[in-house]
């Protein structure tokens, strides 16, 4: 009764192709966006920023980037951590070299550098398919990890190759660095994420998105109907790497504030982000963020749940439980609903359309 499309007739293709053709969808999304921009700056505590909001935003963006490559274009990548590193170190070098440059521009430049590397890594994809391509991304990741540990110039000659977010401000408000106002940082990140999210949605529902999905579903047929395989794949790598690079910049300069190369280790970056898109739903923009929220929140909930229940468990045991839970959920989702939480959400909406009728 609530969620009915009845009476919402479209009289033009333009109306049919809107981002949110169903009115209720549109209100919910816009409402949610207003909520995101207004409520946390008013009420969120620093803990909530650090533990929930910053990670979901930065890792969600990384998941979005990976989803473009793996979910939409079918090119599996285990190198997410490497590209986050490229973005982070690029942003660091650029902002330390040009301290007055607006940080939005810094992020975009960092993304562009990451995109260039992405194109390079993507070049073998013409000859190498599927699963073997994962190995080239592994090669890239390990090489990048090695490089950031060796090339002193990248971290401005810091002995432990540490980089971080130096103090920066915008319109007089401190937005980066130890003095920065958490709400300001949050708004900056939110702006970047929302802008890139909408951009991704536009790309995905047009010609380029269709080309990617065509390559994913049947690359030979795609080529035979005129889609240029190398260009399409390289574009996927480029755009994906751009997003992941920007997410790396956000991750380090805004969220963690100071990292050494260990932060980009494959088991703590590439794999969790891959899990995010599997759980959230391959080939879904919203799914990337749902997956990120899930993976970020579950440990937090677990860590707070046991003390709340009065059960005293050591933190490393909680970590083991997390591993088991994530592993189990990955398998569960892949068996039951490979399209992840996003699809489950769609099913809920479909049921809502009929509610209170059973069918």
């Amino acid at each position: 009764m609530i969620y009915r499309e009845g009476g919402q007739i479209k009289t033009s293709y333009a109306a049919d192709q809107q981002l949110f053709p169903i009115n209720q969808d549109r209100w919910v999304i816009y409402g949610f966006l207003v909520f995101l921009f207004v409520i946390p700056p008013l009420f969120a505590t620093e803990y909530q920023y650090e533990v929930i909001l910053y990670p979901i935003l930065s890792l969600g963006l990384a998941a979005l980037g990976l989803n473009i490559l793996t979910g939409y274009c079918g090119l599996i990548s285990l190198g997410t951590g490497g590209f986050m590193a490229i973005g982070a170190y690029s942003a660091f070098k650029i902002t330390t070299a040009f301290p007055d440059l607006n940080i939005f521009i810094v992020f975009i430049l960092a993304g562009l550098i990451s995109a260039l590397f992405g194109i390079l890594i993507g070049l073998p994809s013409l000859r190498i398919k599927g699963f073997y391509l994962a190995v080239t991304t592994l090669a890239a990741h390990f090489f990048i990890e090695w490089a950031i540990n060796r090339i002193d110039w990248l971290s401005n000659y810091s002995p432990s190759h540490t980089i971080g977010g130096p103090p920066r401000d915008m319109f007089g408000i401190a937005v980066m660095g130890p003095e920065a106002d958490p709400a300001a940082k949050y708004i900056i990140m939110l702006i970047v994420v929302v802008a890139l999210g909408f951009t991704a949605k536009n790309l995905v529902r047009g010609r380029i998105g269709r080309s990617w999905m065509a390559i994913r579903d049947m690359d030979i047929a795609a080529e035979l109907i005129g889609i240029k395989p190398l260009q399409t794949k390289l574009l996927a790598f480029a755009i994906s790497s751009f997003y992941i690079g920007v997410s790396g910049a956000l991750y380090v300069l805004m969220y963690l504030e100071s990292v050494d190369p260990e932060a980009f280790e494959i088991l703590t970056t590439s794999f969790p982000v891959l899990f995010m898109i599997i759980i959230g739903g391959l080939g879904s923009i919203m799914g990337a963020f749902m997956g990120a929220a899930f993976i970020v929140m579950v440990p937090v909930l677990l860590r707070n749940l046991f003390p709340a229940l009065g059960i005293d468990i050591a933190s490393h045991v909680i970590q083991h439980i997390e591993f088991m839970l994530f592993g189990g959920l990955i398998v569960f989702f892949l068996i039951v609903e490979p399209n992840g939480l996003a699809r489950l959400w769609q099913i809920v909406k479909e049921k809502l359309r009929l509610w209170p009728f059973p069918h």
């Binding site: 293709y13 536009n202 065509a214 080529e223 889609i227």
Partner: protein, 278 residues
């Protein structure tokens, strides 16, 4: 887009009203051979396709018919011989370049993009004609949006023509076989090809579905003058709708001419009845 043939017209009536063809040759296959390691898929095959005609390619299983289409498409490169299309001769060309030069096809085992809807699949057929770059696409404003809407309109014409409006948003993986074949035809038509290659478009269909498919094929040939090369096993369909027929057997051409001539050719009869070869 109007139909000159009404919904209820029979196939025979449609054939009766068709025009003669010019002698203008659209595509010619010259001495093409195709080898895979030790297997000779095609041996020294030559034939041509005239502009505006419906050319059937028939032969027993394994005769090399799909391989022939794959060569025309650029997916396989002939070991010997040339393909001349619109006056230009070539022996190997990238498949996507072939597609952009006006050749579209359907496949024996449906090659639809299962993760996308009917409409999206048909829109991929318009891909070669869309070229606003990704920056415009990212903003989905102005030129990119206009382009998308213009092509959407064209895709809808194809959907109307094939009478598949009801399933336009359904993911094609969920459609029954006959409808999938129709969507695949739609994707090929969306590219507005000059030459349409159909690989067993009626395989697995019942009599009614075949009539519908025949009607569509004839309409495409009539309405748009599209040249059609057709692989088909159903002899009655071949005899009824094609202008000329070429027969392959074990990769070799054994007959070439009008349906009647081919039907009464002893070599052809032997091939189908399985008389032993050397």
């Amino acid at each position: 887009m109007n139909k000159t043939v009404s919904q209820d017209a029979t196939v025979e009536q449609a054939i009766a009203g068709r025009p003669d063809h010019t002698a203008d040759i659209l595509l010619s296959v010259d001495n093409v051979s195709l080898n895979f390691g030790g297997v000779k898929a095609l041996q020294d095959v030559s034939f041509n396709i005239r502009r505006g005609e419906i050319r059937a390619i028939i032969g027993p299983n394994g005769a090399g018919k799909s391989s022939m289409l794959n060569v025309i498409n650029g997916f396989y490169h002939p070991s010997e011989g040339m393909i001349t299309y619109k006056g230009e001769a070539r022996s190997d060309m990238r498949p996507d370049i072939v597609a952009r030069s006006g050749i579209a096809r359907t496949f024996q085992n449906i090659a639809l993009f299962s993760g996308m809807s009917t409409l999206d699949n048909i829109m991929t057929g318009r891909n070669t004609m869309m070229n606003r770059n990704f920056l415009w696409q990212a903003l989905h404003l102005g030129p990119a949006k206009e382009e998308e809407l213009a092509h959407r309109a064209k895709a809808e014409e194809v959907i109307d023509f094939l009478e598949i409006q009801a399933i336009r948003k359904v993911p094609v993986g969920r459609l029954p076989y006959g409808l999938q074949k129709r969507v695949e035809l739609g994707r090929a038509l969306a590219a507005e090809p000059e030459l349409l290659l159909l690989d067993e478009p009626m395989a697995g269909m019942n009599a009614e579905e075949k009539e519908d498919m025949c009607r569509f094929i004839l309409d495409v040939n009539d309405e748009f003058g599209t040249t059609i090369a057709l692989i088909e096993h159903d002899m009655s369909v071949v005899m009824d709708i094609s202008d000329r027929v070429v027969v392959l057997d074990y990769g070799v051409k054994i007959a070439d001419g009008s349906p009647d001539k081919v039907r009464s050719n002893q070599t052809v009869i032997d091939a189908y009845l399985g008389v032993s070869h050397d």
